[in-house]
């Protein structure tokens, strides 16, 4: 990466000072950046992260050194034409340094001055590229490559991702939430976008139906030296597979659709039947109450454009968050604080066993007047 900074430094004073300050950090074993004031482009409250050097005298060209987040495309697909243009613009108005991509999924332009923000926005938006999210707003959603280049995708992750982004432009550009909100969409339980670990709303493709087995291909895998008993059958979490040395059979009713067997024998196994997604909510990093993984809210939702069911559910979740969420409280933290019941009742979803690993163990459960009337 130092090579990268040096390349940029050859052309940009900003990059040169960035390099200088970084070298100092290495010597002193500490960083020299400050948070400082909020900056942005006209009419937007997000998309730019303000950064200031704490050593402005020493490194004047990074005195302010803001991040410009371009909303990337679904699946991070590009072509040379756009990227070259992007580079020209960025060399002109910024440090020439980028992150492809930021962890959330933005195309991050790393380091420019306050004055250059508006020109950058004009250049990019006029070419069809908007800003991504930041602050207490919906963040740039991201997804796995899905249907574009994966045989296992149960849903059109890229289209879902695009439509969410378009539908909620205002929520993305004008922070009005208690805190950040992230969407991530994976085409199957393999979760190549790590949605279950780092999205307030995780959308994971799945199916209702059987796994079709091509016995000839099973034989091929065996022939190529795969130990089907140990590598597949024994590793099936629901122990619903059986292999007699010839045929591989699956008790589909007991399959939990973990994807292991399909992933390891892609030519032999294929999910069939109705396709859709499981909707989970609430994952986030450890700050403040410890990391959380998303948990199941809707076991199965059909996923066909324009995805109204998902959009409506999202609005209801935001309403709940809006009404009860404290400042800097993620929706998952709120659900933990308020209890799953309040959340589910508010968004109008019934309790089902799929929402929990196990039922409660203590006898201290509440009864509403309505419950007692039943």
């Amino acid at each position: 990466f130092v090579t990268e900074i040096k390349k940029a430094a050859a052309k940009s004073d900003m990059a040169a000072d960035e390099l200088g300050q970084l070298e100092k950090s290495y010597r002193d074993r500490r960083g020299y950046w400050k948070h400082g004031g909020i900056v942005g482009v006209r009419g937007y409250g997000s998309g730019v992260i303000g950064r200031y050097s704490s050593l402005p005298e020493e490194f004047p060209n990074v005195a302010n050194f803001h991040t410009y987040r371009i909303n990337s495309t679904s699946g991070f697909f590009y072509n040379s034409t756009f990227l070259n243009e992007m580079c020209d613009i960025w060399d002109k108005y910024g440090s020439g340094l980028t992150n492809m991509h930021g962890s959330t999924g933005d195309l991050v332009l790393l380091g420019t001055t306050t004055e250059n923000l508006e020109p950058l926005f004009a250049e990019f938006s006029s070419r069809g590229w908007d800003l991504g999210g930041s602050g207490s707003a919906m963040r740039t959603p991201s997804c796995c490559v899905g249907a574009a280049r994966c045989e296992w995708s149960n849903i059109d992750t890229m289209e879902i991702n695009y439509q969410i982004t378009q539908e909620f432009q205002d929520e993305m550009h004008r922070p009005a939430f208690p805190y950040k909100f992230k969407f991530k969409t994976a085409g199957c339980a393999v979760d190549c976008i790590a949605s279950i670990a780092r999205a307030d709303c995780s959308i994971i493709g799945t199916w209702k139906g059987n796994i079709a087995v091509d016995q000839a291909e099973v034989a091929n895998y065996a022939g190529k030296g795969m130990n089907i008993q140990e590598e597949i059958v024994d590793m099936c979490p629901s122990k619903c597979m059986n292999y007699d040395g010839k045929t591989l059979s699956i008790k589909d009713e007991d399959c939990v659709r973990c994807m292991h067997c399909i992933a390891k024998m892609t030519k032999a196994l294929k999910a069939t039947g109705e396709k859709g997604a499981t909707i989970l909510v609430g994952s986030k990093a450890p700050f403040v109450i410890g990391a959380t993984l998303s948990h199941v809210i809707v076991p199965f939702m059909k996923m066909e454009a324009p995805f109204d069911e998902l959009k409506d559910l999202t609005r209801k979740m935001w309403e709940f968050w809006d009404e009860y969420g404290k400042n800097r409280e993620r929706i998952g933290e709120l659900i933990i604080r308020k209890g799953m019941r309040e959340f589910l009742e508010y968004i109008g979803i019934d309790p089902v066993p799929q929402q929990v690993k196990e039922p409660r163990r203590d006898p201290f459960f509440f009864w509403t007047e309505a419950d007692l009337a039943k």
Binding site: S80, E123, C150, Y162, D170, I196, P286
Partner: protein, 356 residues
């Protein structure tokens, strides 16, 4: 010179215009894929069409020059079509088989690492560090560089029992997916911030500084017209520093990294898992953090030696038991390893059945 007309709330372009024709044609209609080698896989559509993906490691922090180098290659060998993966690798999407060899040759010549596909390590998810974040207590890019230098053979050729996801977070905000990675590094402070009372008086808003503390450790110090911090409550997060720089959290002598292991996000075989603490602290030792690279390699090799095929690091450890993991790796078990946070009780050993 006049700027073009700005447009708002338009979102990103639709992805279709960036898809290679073969993908547009076979969108959602793929049959299977084959991993040809660490840097090359082919996806075959029901139509019989094929698309080859040539994967190249990227430092993620890219200069425009390097991006131009990628686009030049893409234009030359695959109609200008390329993408980035969710772990920040670059994939050239080739539809003409004859172009693969020359592309690989030129990539090699230009010194790019091809790999990361299949059961091995891939790019190391990481974040800003000293490059751009005020919150950083180590440098992410630097750590990633030295780790990749040390482990590159596991990216380009060698196999591991299953994928091994590595990550680096430069502070406890954990902007990467460190909390669910096979082996990850997270930077931590270990001391309560040092308060420069005179500066605080002049530079900071006391109430907002107090409000910034997630654990309520900060209270006003009327005498000094400053603040004081409750040592027992402080978890060294640095939020106070964010809003009030004279509350100095950086401490080169005591800042460093912890190593966590056994996390995963996929649902295959076993549930997604959090990473758990393996090594509570290693002092920052830039530019090459030799103690960190040695520790990561040691754990990785213990896993490779003992895990069953397809077992992820966390699955391997759960099968043998954490007590055995500490035995095999010879890592000391300290008070820091014992949870004392919100779900601590769930981590206590509630059984008489364990290994010696």
């Amino acid at each position: 010179m006049a700027l073009p007309q700005r447009r708002t709330d338009i979102g990103p372009p639709h992805f279709k215009e960036f898809l290679p024709p073969v993908i547009q044609k076979n969108y959602g209609d793929w049959k299977y894929h084959e991993v040809i080698n660490a840097g090359l896989m082919v996806h075959v559509a029901n139509s019989g069409d094929k698309v080859w993906s040539v994967r190249v490691a990227s430092p993620r922090l890219l200069s425009t020059d390097t991006i131009r180098e990628y686009t030049a290659l893409a234009t030359k060998y695959c109609g200008g079509y390329l993408r980035w993966t969710t772990r920040n690798n670059v994939e050239f999407l080739v539809s003409d088989e004859s172009q693969i060899a020359p592309l690989q040759a030129e990539l090699k010549e230009k010194g790019h690492l091809m790999g990361g596909i299949g059961s091995r390590i891939s790019n190391i998810v990481h974040t800003q560090g000293w490059v751009h974040c005020h919150s950083a207590c180590t440098d992410a890019s630097g750590l990633v560089k030295v780790l990749m230098d040390d482990l590159s053979e596991y990216f380009t050729t060698k196999e591991t029992p299953n994928k091994v996801r590595l990550a680096v977070a430069c502070c406890v905000n954990m902007c990467g997916a460190v909390h669910c990675s096979d082996i990850a590094v997270v930077a931590i402070h270990r001391k309560v911030p040092v308060i420069d009372h005179d500066k605080v008086k002049n530079m900071c808003e006391i109430p907002s500084t107090i409000a910034a503390c997630p654990t309520g450790a900060i209270s006003p110090d009327p005498a000094k017209k400053s603040i004081k911090i409750n040592e027992d409550k402080c978890m060294y997060c640095g939020n106070c520093f964010t809003v009030c720089p004279p509350v100095e959290i950086h401490d080169p002598e005591n800042d460093g990294v912890a190593i966590v292991v056994g996390g995963k996000v996929g649902n295959l075989r076993s549930e997604p898992k959090f990473s758990k603490l393996a090594i509570p602290f290693i002092k920052n030792n830039p530019p090459r953090w030799p103690e960190v690279t040695a520790a990561v390699r040691m754990i990785l090799e213990a896993y490779i030696a003992d895990a069953k095929k397809h077992e992820r690091v966390g699955e391997w450890i759960e099968r043998i038991g954490w007590e055995k993991f500490f035995k095999i790796t010879n890592l000391p078990f300290t008070f820091q390893h014992i949870d004392d946070f919100v779900i601590a009780r769930e981590t206590f050993r509630n059984t008489a059945a364990f290994k010696w």
